[in-house]
């Protein structure tokens, strides 16, 4: 017989196991990327939606809001929009994971001798690819309305580094929620609930003027740390309010701790949930 009687042999050493898991992971990343490029409509919305938000917030709100310490509101606003977009990327992940579950293709993956981490890994890495397109769209709109980074190439890159790290962390939350919601319909209902999370922060307005209890939430919101990191690293106005609360004294450190912390806590939960996912 030819290839017909091929029987795969399980990896024997821990190193071989890791190699297999990595290979499985990248096969799934490729799958997700292929889905992405077969769906130009979805890609277009990654660019059109931020454009609308930039115009809406930049010009409608921008005409009424004063930036603390002076400066252009649109310059102040853009880091917040980048951070909000990083957060909202969770929606795509939730719906694609839930769609996979509903399709039945997840059953085949789960009945195959592949790494249990491969499917969640594929979804989170491909969420970075969507993020790249999304951030590019926001950056183009932002440049058009007069935003720019002021502190040189490396700090600009560092700002995007913080954004991508946060987006990756949020991707794991998306995988977990997708596995919990199980159907695309349920996921669609849940995604708008992310909006308050992105708004109760320093994304659009300084937190100084919020009632005390709300301000505590807003200052500890990881989105505030991500926004403030970008303002700081890009030299955009408003990186520090009048009274700086603890999490925002070193926003970059806080943003990194938040992101890594989310990955450490949520990734094992997501993989565990995937193993147990029974339709």
């Amino acid at each position: 017989m030819t290839a017909a009687l091929w029987v795969p042999t399980p990896p024997k050493t821990p190193l071989a196991r890791i190699r297999w898991a990595a290979s499985d992971g990248f096969v799934l990343v490729r799958r997700e990327l292929e889905h992405l490029f077969r769906d130009p409509g979805g890609l277009a919305s990654e660019i059109v939606l931020p454009a609308i938000i930039v115009l809406l917030f930049g010009y409608v709100l921008g005409s009424a809001i004063m930036v603390p310490g002076g400066g252009d509101y649109r310059e102040y606003l853009m880091p917040g929009i980048f951070a909000m977009q990083a957060m909202m990327g969770i929606g795509v992940t939730i719906t694609t994971v839930a769609g996979d579950l509903a399709d039945g293709v997840m059953d085949r993956f789960r009945s195959m001798p592949m790494a249990r981490s491969a499917v969640p890994f594929g979804h989170t890495v491909s969420s970075l690819a969507t993020g790249l397109i999304n951030f590019t769209g926001v950056a183009v709109c932002a440049l058009v309305v007069g935003w720019q980074p002021h502190r040189g190439l490396w700090l600009t890159v560092a700002g995007f580094g913080v954004l991508f790290l946060f987006r990756y962390a949020v991707g794991w939350v998306g995988v977990l929620l997708g596995l919990i919601f199980k159907t695309e319909e349920a996921a669609d209902h849940a995604v708008p609930l992310m909006f308050p999370l992105a708004m109760i922060a320093n994304t659009f307005v300084p937190t100084d003027g919020m009632p005390g209890w709300l301000r505590v939430i807003a200052d500890w919101n990881p989105i505030s740390a991500v926004t403030d990191s970008c303002r700081l690293l890009w030299g955009n106005p408003g990186s520090h309010g009048t009274v700086v609360s603890l999490p925002l004294q070193n926003p970059v450190l806080t943003a990194v701790i938040w992101s890594v912390g989310i990955i450490i806590v949520v990734a094992p939960l997501a993989v565990w949930r995937y193993r147990a996912a029974a339709k």
């Binding site: 096969v27 085949r108 009945s111």
Partner: protein, 323 residues
């Protein structure tokens, strides 16, 4: 346990909330044979397959595939089993070829082998022309064939087919059947669930009839058919009041025990191919003065098997399970 058993299920039970899907399932399938698991919707067929394919954990009992415990050693078991589901488990957004290559890589076939194997299987299931089309454009039958192809990328020791032909046209069924027979010649053991007696009859070496989560009968297709009779005659009478007399007449004509369906004014009796049964029935009905609205000769159905083995029809089973 002996090496010659490809599948061993021992007292497996599984409950979902208030529903007891399996209530103590026992099953033995010798290596290299096809076992048909026959039962109506809700009997527990899919739950059994999902447990054996490591997708669900049983509440109690043990299950082995190719000698490997599917609960304790699920990862090793996955190297030895293939699954084609009731709902084609393929990626809708990739092409047919893309699907097979992806699954091939996930089985860690070397690149060249994965490609060749994908092309070979596309050819075998008449999908070569559609290989570069996205699966969402496929017909139901094409999806099912692709699903089957995907589960054959490696040569699994045991292949589970959950209602592989439900919803397929006759040509699609014939293709799936031919592929299944081929496989067994290559040494694969097949466990297939079905609602169709004729499918089990065509393919299976042994049949396990399951009802309400446990096996109620096992045997070869011949043994089961002998239990229910080779053919049935249904007689429809003008009013349900005529059924009692029709029963007497049918019993006298065939020696069998007729079953009555008052709602459809039908009396049904098994006839074992004896010549003249039809004529005898007509004569006896005439003698008791019962008119005939309609009379048909048919092969036994799953319903007949169920009535014979469990004393209730498949519809009643469904109600019990959902109640």
């Amino acid at each position: 346990m002996g090496n010659d058993l490809a599948v061993l299920v021992d007292g497996v039970a599984k409950r979902f909330g208030a529903t007891e899907a399996l209530t103590g399932l026992d099953l033995e399938v010798p290596a290299g044979t096809i076992c048909g698991v026959l039962g109506p919707n809700g009997a527990g067929k899919t739950t059994a397959v999902r447990i054996l394919a490591t997708l669900l954990r049983p509440d109690r009992g043990r299950a082995f595939v190719d000698g490997i415990d599917v609960v304790r050693d699920s990862e090793r078991a996955r190297y030895r089993l293939g699954l084609a589901g009731q709902f084609a488990a393929v990626d809708e957004k990739l092409t047919g070829r893309g699907n097979l290559r992806m699954f091939g890589k996930l089985y860690h076939l070397p690149g060249r082998v994965a490609k060749e194997r994908a092309d070979e299987l596309l050819g075998r299931f008449h999908l070569t022309d559609a290989a570069n089309r996205v699966v969402s454009t496929y017909s139901g039958g094409m999806r099912r064939r692709l699903d089957l192809a995907a589960s054959l990328l490696i040569a699994p020791a045991v292949l589970f087919l959950d209602e592989p032909t439900t919803g397929l046209d006759p040509r699609g069924r014939a293709e799936v059947w031919a592929a299944v027979r081929d496989l067994v010649q290559n040494g694969t053991t097949v466990v297939l669930t079905t609602q169709y007696l004729d499918e089990a009859d065509h393919l299976a070496d042994s049949i396990a009839v399951i009802d309400a989560g446990r096996v109620v009968a096992t045997g070869t297709p011949e043994q089961l058919k002998n239990k229910v009779g080779a053919e049935h005659i249904d007689v429809v009478v003008p009013t349900s009041g005529d059924l009692a007399e029709a029963r007497t007449a049918l019993h006298r004509a065939t020696g069998g025990e007729p079953i009555l369906y008052p709602s459809t004014r039908t009396a049904s009796v098994a006839v074992d191919g004896e010549p003249g049964a039809l004529a005898a029935i007509v004569r006896e009905l005439d003698a008791v003065g019962v008119h005939i609205d309609n009379m048909t000769l048919r092969s036994p159905t799953l319903d007949d098997v169920f009535l014979e083995l469990t004393g209730h029809s498949t519809d009643e089973t469904r109600q019990e399970v959902t109640a």
